[in-house]
Amino acid sequence: MTTKANSIVKPLSAVSMPVSMDKTLFRFKRVGESFVQKVLPALIVGFLLILIWELLTSSQSATLPSPSRVVTDTWELIINPFYNNGGTDVGMGWQILASLERVAYGYSLAVIAGISLGVLVGQSTWAMRGLDPIFQILRTVPPLAWLPISLAAFQDSNPSAIFVIFITAIWPIIINTSVGVRNIPEDYRNVAKVLSLNGYEYFTKVMLPAAAPYIFTGLRIGIGLSWLAIVAAEMLIGGVGIGFFIWDAWNASMISDIVLALVYVGVVGFLLDKFIGFISNLVTRGTSN
């Protein structure tokens, strides 16, 4: 009661200062709260897991290095992510970037081809009947099984790796796009008919936005699969790249390097997924009813 009376009596200018300070304070408090609620549990669990790992691998007879061993062994690699000694002896940053470059090529091609084929299959019943069985069979072929065939076809390791990415990422994109196109509500099709939209207008103004949530689901699965496939493919084709780095480390019995590489692979895969999710949110904002 008294506070209420006070605030009414106060002149406006006197009130404005504490209010703005309250606001910043409030914001800090909110950020702090969300940190406690969302980030802290992950940190605690992560810390516990590392602790368990440390305990399990602390004995002399342990076959795997403990976390502290990993850090001391790989300290040079951690602090110098971008050194370049020529050949495949380059920093982790370069290795990751080389892998990302392959993924970028293969995935971009998969996006273009996948969305186009998905639209075709979604629009035309005939195309669906013709192509869908083939897609269903081909998509079950494991990514690495494509590698020998693509090596034979391209006679070069780099395009082969890109092809493996392409063929891995394309299936979820095709399938989700076609489902999205097939599920465009009849109402929107009728609206397009009444407005007499032509094919191009229908494609850009109705079909793509209506199917966007589905398409992005496919894109998100696709990027995850391509990142999975690149590590495996690079192990076989060699050259600069995180996959071959792991294989190389295994051959040199540097298990700590492998652990570090796995951390990099995991973090980059996570970031790729978040990146596509972020774009998806930007693009599909407002498409849901």
Binding site: P185, D187, Y188, N190, V191, K193, V194, L195, S196, L197, E201, K205, V206, P209, A210, A212, T284, G286, T287, S288, N289
Partner: protein, 284 residues
């Protein structure tokens, strides 16, 4: 050629093929003059929407023709714009953009960009939605969405405006409000309107003529009731108007006595005798 503005001549509609064929519409004939407000009323499943879809060109008629202003209708087009029951606004476009899509497409060649912009604003003003130009459909109420749907259809300056149960999904108060709005707009621009409805009051209040359809299958036009009440009509005054009530009664009588709807329960093993006799009475 027919001298009516819009003629529906001997339209039949059969769905399915072979043994599964079902004749939904049988010999539907209707003539509509320019500026008329026609309501089509009937029980659900009687093919009202099929008639509208055939006029819109969204469905082809099995037999018969629809002639609008001397030209046969055989595909959808902006001269017969439709207001759909569930508004059918594109959710990724704002209110303005939804109407703009229709206007920019329809008047691409006949109006400059500035004229089109003004026309979009004017159309939205007509339904009192100028305050929500940049809102997306998800951010506005059901009644507002339907207003935008009406604005979109009107903005195309159609020869005939087709309303497919336009107020069916709205609550009673919003519905009354929008009915008044449509009456006002129709008085203003004198558009030709065909409205599908199952609301008797709505039909009597808004229409010049009410087309009452018999029950399907093989539904056709049962009776046409001319509503000879002066416009503009006021729903409150009409409640006391004996003529209005007589019209209302006539429609009710048609729907609930002559065309009493009998739901045949598929789950029942044998049709009960009482039901069977009712069905006979209805079809007689």
């Amino acid at each position: 050629m027919s001298k009516h503005y819009l003629s529906i001549e001997g339209v039949n509609k059969v769905f399915g093929q072979g043994n599964k064929q079902s004749c939904v519409l049988k010999n539907v004939n209707l003539h509509i003059e320019k500026g008329e407000y026609i309501s089509i009323i009937g029980h659900s499943g009687c093919g009202k929407s099929t008639v509208l879809n055939i006029v819109a060109g969204l469905l082809p008629a099995t037999d018969g023709v629809v002639i609008l202003d001397g030209k046969e209708v055989n595909s959808p087009g902006p001269d017969r714009s439709v207001v759909f029951q569930n508004h059918s606004l594109l959710p990724w476009l704002t209110v303005y953009e939804n109407v703009a899509l229709a206007v920019n497409k329809t008047f691409k060649k006949t109006k400059t960009a500035k004229e089109r912009h003004e026309w979009i604003l004017k159309s939205l003003e007509m339904v009192h939605m100028s305050h929500a130009l940049d809102k997306r459909p998800a951010e506005i109420s059901g009644g507002m969405k339907q207003r935008v749907g009406i604005a979109r259809a009107l903005a195309m300056e159609p020869k005939v405006l087709l309303l497919d149960e336009p107020f069916g999904a709205l609550d009673a108060l919003t519905r009354a409000h929008l009915q008044d709005e449509v009456m006002k707009i129709q008085a203003e621009i004198n558009s030709t309107i065909i409205m599908i409805t199952h609301d008797v009051d709505e039909a009597v209040l808004l229409s010049d003529r009410i087309v009452m359809m018999t029950n399907g299958p093989e539904a056709t036009i049962g009776e046409i009731l001319e509503i000879d009440l002066p416009k503009p009509r006021n729903r409150i005054e009409m409640a006391d108007n004996p003529k209005y009530n007589r019209y209302r009664q006539a429609v009710l009588r048609f729907l609930y006595e002559k065309q009493r709807k009998v739901e045949v329960l598929v789950s029942a093993e044998k049709p009960k005798p009482a039901q069977a006799s009712l069905k006979k009475a209805a079809s007689a």
